[in-house]
């Protein structure tokens, strides 16, 4: 992608001095676009180039993704808690995505309720704690049940 863009630049200079729109020059717009992607697409976007990779690592994007479908925005006290427990990206991967897919069998309107948010946060916290318990007893498999396919 970067190579293609470079080529375009070269061609440009040869043609006219007409300014063309380079996405990577406008990071704020880029972020706005990335904000609207879903989880898997964000993952793919991270593989595009170094700039995109850095941007997609930013937790605020994932925070946006986690709470995009919440009916009312979460209180400000949530952020420090989530950050302390491992960050929004992890929250999404480990809790939000499986919970959402499990609770919504059909592709209906994806709107979280506050209860579902709370449940996810609690499960996330248990996960954090189990990882801290560490070695000895068990691996942190408390959330593994979320990964199992539903058998009807």
């Amino acid at each position: 992608m970067v190579k293609a863009m470079r080529q375009m630049k070269v061609e440009e200079k040869e043609k006219e001095k007409k300014p063309k729109f380079q996405m990577n020059d406008h990071i704020d717009i880029l972020i706005e676009v990335l904000k609207r992607l879903d989880g898997p697409s964000l993952g793919v976007a991270a593989c595009v180039c170094r700039l995109w990779c850095t941007l997609t690592r930013s937790d605020s994007l994932w925070e946006h993704l986690c709470f995009r479908h919440v009916s009312s925005p979460p209180p400000s006290s949530v952020r420090p808690v989530v950050v302390a427990l491992g960050g929004y990206k992890r929250l999404y991967m480990v809790c939000v995505r499986p919970v959402l897919s499990r609770l919504r069998n059909s592709d209906s309107e994806l709107v979280w309720t506050r209860d579902e948010v709370q449940l996810s946060l609690s499960l996330f916290c248990v996960d954090y704690y189990e990882r801290r318990l560490g070695g000895g007893a068990t691996s942190a498999s408390s959330l593994m049940f979320l990964c199992n396919p539903v058998n009807v």
Binding site: P75, S77, V78, P80, V81, A84, L85, P98, V99, R102, L103, D115, E116, Q118, L119, L121, S122, L123, C125, V126, Y128, Y129, E130, R132, L133, A137, T138, S141, S142, M144, F145, L146, N148, P149, V150, N151, V152
Partner: protein, 557 residues
């Protein structure tokens, strides 16, 4: 299942329920009817056998599946399972590359030297294609060695039923004291076990019960090894107990349900208080508390000062396991900015705990949390006052804002052995059934050991050594009512949360029910665990004079 899909699309001319119009409604199996299938109750065994065979055939010849999907045969009325399965099986019999069809073995005792007689049940649905002559040929040349049973035949089903019957007979003879008869029954059951699938279903449960019974009959002293103590077996180490408990927590939702429901109730009870104190009767790894800490951190108005007192058995090897758990919890609390203090109380038995050890101060709101601990106090020594009364007494003196009680929903404390045995057989069969859905290993295996220990204690121990004295919710209600507690209703939030939690589990058989303000979690409408909340009734006229550590406004309650 693609053949079925093709069947439904092909058979959309389905006004034709006339295919089975001759079947009387009374004959049709009710449970399957609820799922949309019409099978005569008398046909059930036949259908089950055919389905097994169909599965075997499909497994053995995956290539033919696509043929089936595009076959010209139209499957009418797929809700009539019997004929549908038969028509599919006949499809398989068309293709020559298939292994020859297995004959029916309905009423045959498979012994070492016996060739199963080949019998084809006279059945109209077999005759509508040119398979029969081919089949006859195949079958006549067939002698299936008895141990090559890939099909669950009626024989195995009978073995399961026989096992249950033998278990009951054995238990009854134990109750009557006829130990020699009981012993011989154990031998018979063990030989029968060899012919039954013990990796799932009735075989597995029966195996555990047979073991528990033989412990009771042959080594009653050894079974007292499972006696006593706050959180488990006397001789089995606390570490082992914690490990098994943790795996039981992972493998099935019962403990998660318990924790989340109790936390929700405690959270609601602590609303508006700035100093709160939770007393946990069985700390284990403290898995319940991270969620409460996080919920308190996020509550509107900010988190209170949280004190946690964890009670647990003393660790034999000098490790202070209670303190270690406390440190982990404190670390968590610190990262989410909740002021937290932990205190561990090591006690072998809950009745040994004294009020002063808990160091409750008058300004804080107290919550007592008992997850499957109260039933252990029901065994009593005639020379001493009953432990349950001692403990409920000091809980009452604490005057907690809330006491959360989670118990097994079972009646395993009846005086008669036979009653206990029967009840526990049904209870634990249901529980093992629910565990089948779990695919996590080693969680599942260790969870089974955890349950097996309970079974052993219920069946093979007596007196003080038997501490798994489960009682149902109704009995706890009257017991706690008499001890001076009144019920607090668990709100709809707890119910919603429990429901949500269950939809996240992979098995769709769990059900949450509300029972007069208490919640129960069960498997297929059999409740297995109950959660309830209580508070102490203020007693101004108590003859014993409840010592109030708190400046209580009796009116304010």
């Amino acid at each position: 299942m693609s053949p079925y899909d093709s069947a439904t699309s092909a058979g959309s001319s389905s006004g034709s329920s006339s295919a089975s119009s001759s079947t009387k409604l009374a004959d049709i199996d009710g449970l399957l009817a609820g799922a949309g299938y019409k099978v005569r109750a008398s046909d059930l065994r036949h259908v089950a056998q055919r389905l097994e065979r169909l599965e075997t055939a499909m497994v053995n010849s995956p290539v033919e599946l696509s043929q089936l999907a595009s076959s010209d045969t139209v499957h009418y009325n797929p809700s009539d399972i019997a004929s549908w399965v038969d028509s599919l099986l006949s499809e398989f019999n068309h293709t020559p590359s298939l292994p020859s069809d297995l004959p029916d073995l309905p009423d045959i005792v498979v012994g070492p030297g016996i060739n199963p007689t080949v019998k084809n049940e006279a059945d109209a649905t077999w005759t509508d294609n040119d398979a029969p002559p081919q089949q006859q040929q195949n079958m006549q040349s067939l002698t299936i060695p008895p141990n090559q049973l890939t099909v669950v035949t009626a024989m195995e089903e009978d073995s399961g039923i026989r096992l249950v019957h033998l278990l009951m007979t054995c238990a009854e003879s134990v109750q009557r004291g006829e130990f020699s008869l009981a012993g011989s029954l154990i031998d018979e059951m063990q030989s029968l076990l060899r012919r039954v699938n013990t990796t799932c279903g009735i075989g597995k449960v029966a195996g555990y019960f047979i073991e528990a019974l033989s412990r009771r009959i042959f080594t009653p002293q050894a079974s007292s090894l499972f006696g006593g103590s706050v959180s488990g077996s006397g001789s089995a180490s606390a570490y082992e107990n914690e490990l098994l408990y943790h795996h039981f927590y992972e493998a099935c939702p019962y403990l998660k349900f318990a924790h989340f429901t109790a936390n929700q109730a405690i959270l609601e009870a602590f609303d508006g208080h700035d100093c709160v104190h939770v007393i946990d009767f069985n700390l284990m790894h403290g898995l319940q508390w991270p969620a409460l800490i996080q919920a308190l951190a996020l509550r509107p108005g900010g988190p209170p000062l949280l004190r946690l007192t964890g009670i647990g058995p003393p660790s034999p090897d000098g490790r202070d396991s209670l303190r270690e758990i406390g440190l982990r919890l404190a670390e968590l609390a610190r990262s989410v900015n909740v002021r937290f203090a932990f205190r561990g109380v090591a006690a072998q038995r809950l009745e040994d705990v004294k009020l002063w050890m808990l160091q409750v101060n008058s300004k804080e709101a107290v919550a007592v949390n008992s997850i499957m601990q109260l039933h252990r106090l029901l065994g009593s020594d005639p020379n001493r006052s009953p432990p349950i009364e001692i403990v409920l007494g000091w809980i009452r003196q604490l005057n907690p804002k809330i006491m959360t009680v989670i118990e097994h929903e079972a009646n395993h404390n009846q005086p008669g052995f036979m009653d206990r045995f029967t009840e526990s057989l049904y209870y634990y069969s249901t529980m093992f059934d629910s565990l089948e859905a779990c695919t996590l290993q080693p969680e599942k295996a260790l969870a089974e050991i955890y349950i097996q220990r309970e079974i052993c204690n219920v069946v093979s121990c007596e007196g003080l050594a038997r501490f798994e004295r489960h009682e149902p919710l109704a009995k706890w209600r009257s017991r706690l009512g008499q001890a001076g507690f009144s019920p607090l209703h668990l709100g709809s939030n707890a119910f919603k949360q429990a429901r949500m939690l269950l939809t996240l589990f992979s098995a769709e058989g769990y059900c949450v029910e509300e029972n007069e303000g208490c919640l129960t979690l069960g498997w297929h409408s059999r409740p297995l665990i109950s959660a309830s909340a209580w508070q102490a009734v203020p007693d101004a006229n108590s003859p014993l004079g409840i010592v109030n550590h708190h400046h209580n406004n009796h009116n304010a309650l």
